[in-house]
Each structure stands twice: as structure tokens, then as C-alpha cells.
């Protein structure tokens, strides 16, 4: 058994794992054990059901006036929009031009990261200097290929930009983050964790890296299923969410020079 976690140890932490409150490292070890142990998997599934039903005991509450209309209109607009995405934040269209340009720059960077990543074989390595060097020069046309991309922003804040995220299905699949925190975390120095968010709200810990004064770049190999990933999250070592990103499928393609 590759995992050091025994069934007994798993049962000690299984409830916390099911409730999503186990720390990153313990969680990773527990998940590794679960991949090999059907009994413990069943145990955690039962605990997860208990957790879900506990949340189900919370009483319903009346949302603010107009909530139903606002949300249903947003969903309808999203379903009929060309890009098929809801616009939750009224300010989003104002940034469209900037975002479009940023996206093209990002796609160039994504292709550069992809090339670099594949060349280096991935192992959770820092890519700061290399990526900066590559993105500072024109990038030749590349093959069109899907990649998940997204802007990192401060959670629930005023959409302050905090960097970018890329996730490539591969093979080999990989995730890259380029971080430039702003606001209250702008001077953050220390270890951070990259987590991928799934549509059901759960997360997968991909790896850790270091930020210096709120800045850093990083990539690691990991399986990437675009249909099972909805976003990414950057957290500090104590679990504080520093930034989040919604991920969309884009295309790495010939650069569009402004």
C-alpha cells in the first residue's frame, strides 16, 4: 500500500474529510488511501451523506424582494447569450474590451506555458522566470487546442484582478497559475495552495507553491477533465481564500496581435 494512512487513521479523520474540513495535507493522504480501500470509501460516502443531510436541516428563508426575477432573468439571458454564460456582476460588460485583449494575451501565455510544461515533464515546479521570459517575446502560431482559462479575483470583492489560471486537458493534463495579488493580500509572502473547484462545490488540492509580495507563478501536472472543473482557488496556509477564478473553455490558437 503506497499510502501511509491506515484504515484506523482514516476512520479517525473520515468525518472531517466528509465535511470538507480536513487540512490539505491530511486530505490528500486520506484521498490516496481511499483510492485503494473500498471499505473506507464506503465509510466516507456514508459520512458525506450525513453531512449533506445535516445541511438539509437548515430552515428555508425568504430571499430579498426581486431575487427570483433577477436570478431567473440572468439565467435566461445566459442560456440565450452567444457565450452561454450568466453575467452575475453588472460591471462585467464594462470590462469586455480589456478582458478580450487580456484573453488573447493569456492564450499566448497558455501556449507558452504548455510548451514549457510538456518539455519539463511536470512535477510541481516553479515557472516564474521562464514564463516571464517566454511571454515577453512574440509567440508564433500554434495549433488550436482547448484549454480552461480564467481570471483570478479577490473572493466576493469588487473584481480586483489577482492573476490568471490555466488548466489543460492534455495529455498530460496540467494546471498553471500566474498570481499578482492586490488589495489586502497584495504583500502576502508565504506558502499557498492551488485547488480546483468542481461543479458540486467540492475542491481538489493540486499543489502548493510560494508567493513573494503577492506574486508568483507555478504549474503542476494533474488530470484535467474540463466538464468536471468549474474554477480554481488560491488559499493561504491557514485556509484563507486569497483569490478565486471561474474557468471557461478557450482555445490556444494563433495570437491576435493588437
Amino acid at each position: 500500500m503506497a499510502s501511509d494512512v491506515t484504515c484506523e487513521r482514516l476512520r479517525e479523520n473520515g468525518a472531517e474529510l466528509a465535511l470538507g474540513v480536513l487540512s490539505g495535507r491530511q486530505r490528500a493522504e486520506a484521498v490516496e488511501h481511499l483510492e485503494q480501500c473500498a471499505d473506507c470509501r464506503e465509510y466516507v460516502e456514508h459520512m458525506t451523506l450525513v453531512g449533506d443531510r445535516l445541511i438539509g436541516l437548515l430552515p428555508p428563508a425568504e430571499p430579498p424582494t426581486g431575487f427570483e426575477t433577477r436570478v431567473s432573468r440572468a439565467l435566461t439571458r445566459a442560456a440565450t447569450a452567444p457565450e452561454g454564460r450568466p453575467h452575475a456582476h453588472p460591471s462585467a460588460p464594462e470590462h469586455k474590451g480589456v478582458r478580450g485583449r487580456a484573453r488573447r494575451v493569456r492564450l499566448r501565455m497558455a501556449s507558452a506555458v504548455a510548451a514549457l510544461a510538456i518539455a519539463c515533464g511536470f512535477a510541481g515546479w516553479g515557472i516564474s522566470t521562464a514564463v516571464e521570459a517566454i511571454t515577453a517575446t512574440p509567440v508564433p502560431a500554434v495549433e488550436s487546442e482547448p484549454v480552461l482559462v480564467g481570471d483570478l479575483t479577490s473572493p466576493l470583492g469588487a473584481e480586483q484582478p489577482a492573476g490568471e489560471v490555466y488548466a489543460h486537458p492534455g495529455p498530460p493534463g496540467w494546471v498553471a497559475m500566474s498570481v499578482a495579488l492586490t488589495g489586502s493580500h497584495a504583500s502576502y509572502t508565504g506558502k499557498v495552495a492551488c485547488l480546483l473547484e468542481h461543479p458540486d462545490g467540492t475542491t481538489t488540492h493540486v499543489g502548493d507553491f510560494a508567493l513573494r509580495n503577492g506574486h508568483g507563478n507555478w504549474a503542476a501536472s494533474t488530470p484535467v477533465d474540463p466538464s468536471a472543473i468549474s474554477g480554481a482557488r488560491l488559499t493561504s496556509s491557514d485556509g484563507t481564500v486569497l483569490a478565486t477564478a471561474d474557468l471557461q473553455v478557450g482555445q490556444v490558437q494563433t495570437p491576435d496581435v493588437d
Partner: protein
């Protein structure tokens, strides 16, 4: 969704969810109307902040719409799926506002809410009623640990700090409380295979 000739309010939850992709405004309104109280209830219970809870509730519906195709009814009802999404988003919001401490009275109120069995819950499914009763029977300190971990998303270390108890004690309280609830749900009184 063209061709619907009966009240969409009668559509099953899963059909409504699938129908969101059509862009039919009536389906969207029906879907939101059906689940908004549940979703907002989770968000406001966890955050205690109406504005933040509204943001979270809206994000929950958007996520549901965006990822409707991967919803798996075998893993739970649409309502459960939505409450899970809302809960995860709310806990994230709490964690990002770590500087704002949870008021002790809020914790006790919430514990009372999830364990109360007034008449309005009489029509709830039996599994939920049994679960409420089981929560009510927990020693108070275990119930508090359960609510802190299971609803507020606090880690065992955070609970230990909050309650001024050793980490091992906090972990034991969470584990013991969860085990009791699990036994309640899996007891052979009556099968409950979903929601």
C-alpha cells in the same frame, strides 16, 4: 422549451434543471421559485449576512445552470445538490472573512434550529426527522462541534481554539457526533434511499 402544454410548475425537479439550458424564461423562473428559499436559507444560516447570502444564492443558481449536465440524480436530489453548492460557497465566503468572528449565540441558535422538531417539520421525510432527533440527543458540546464543522466549515483546530479544548478533543467530538448521526440514518427502522 417549446411544446410544453401543461403548467411547468408540475415538472419534476430534474426536468426543470435540464430545461434551464433552453433559455425558456418560465422554466428559469419556476426553477428559481422552487428552490430559492432552500438555497437562500442555507446561505443566510451560514453567513448571517443578507447581502452576502444573496450573492451566494445567485452564484448557486448560476453554477447549477452552468453545470446542469453533470448533475447525477443517483447521488441525491436536485435540492440536495443545490444546498451542497450553496453551502460550499457560503463556507468559502466565511473563510475569506475570517476576521469576523462568529457570535457564540449564533452557534447555539443554529444548533437549536437544526435539532428542533416543531410542527412545521412534521411533514418532513422520516430520515430528516430522525436526524433532527439525533442531533437533539447529542451532548451539547458534540452538537456544537458538529455545527461548527458541518455547517460553519470550521476545522478541528479552529474548533479547538474556539472552545479552548485540545485538538484531539475537538476531533473526537466531531467524529463521535457524526458516528451517532450515521447510525441513526443507517438503522434498520426504515429504508431511506434518497431524497
Amino acid at each position: 422549451m417549446q411544446g410544453i402544454r401543461f403548467p411547468v410548475g408540475r415538472l419534476p425537479d430534474e426536468a426543470l434543471l435540464s430545461g434551464l439550458a433552453t433559455g425558456d424564461p418560465e422554466l428559469a423562473a419556476t426553477f428559481v421559485r422552487r428552490f430559492q428559499h432552500t438555497v437562500f436559507g442555507v446561505a443566510i444560516a451560514v453567513t448571517g449576512d443578507p447581502q452576502l447570502a444573496e450573492d451566494i444564492a445567485q452564484q448557486t443558481f448560476e453554477r447549477a445552470w452552468r453545470h446542469a449536465q453533470i448533475y447525477d440524480p443517483r447521488r441525491g436530489s436536485v435540492a440536495t445538490w443545490l444546498t451542497t453548492i450553496a453551502h460550499n460557497l457560503a463556507v468559502d465566503a466565511l473563510r475569506s472573512r475570517r476576521s469576523e468572528p462568529m457570535a457564540p449565540e449564533d452557534l447555539d441558535v443554529l444548533l437549536d434550529v437544526v435539532s428542533e422538531t416543531p410542527e412545521q417539520w412534521a411533514l418532513a421525510d422520516e430520515a430528516s426527522a430522525r436526524l433532527r432527533a439525533a442531533v437533539a440527543e447529542l451532548p451539547r458540546e458534540q452538537g456544537r462541534a458538529l455545527v461548527m464543522a458541518g455547517i460553519y466549515g470550521m476545522t478541528a483546530q479552529q474548533i479547538a481554539d474556539w472552545e479552548k479544548i485540545p485538538l484531539g478533543t475537538a476531533k473526537t467530538r466531531i467524529r463521535t457526533a457524526m458516528a451517532k448521526l450515521r447510525n441513526t440514518l443507517t438503522s434498520p427502522k426504515r429504508g431511506d434511499h434518497g431524497q
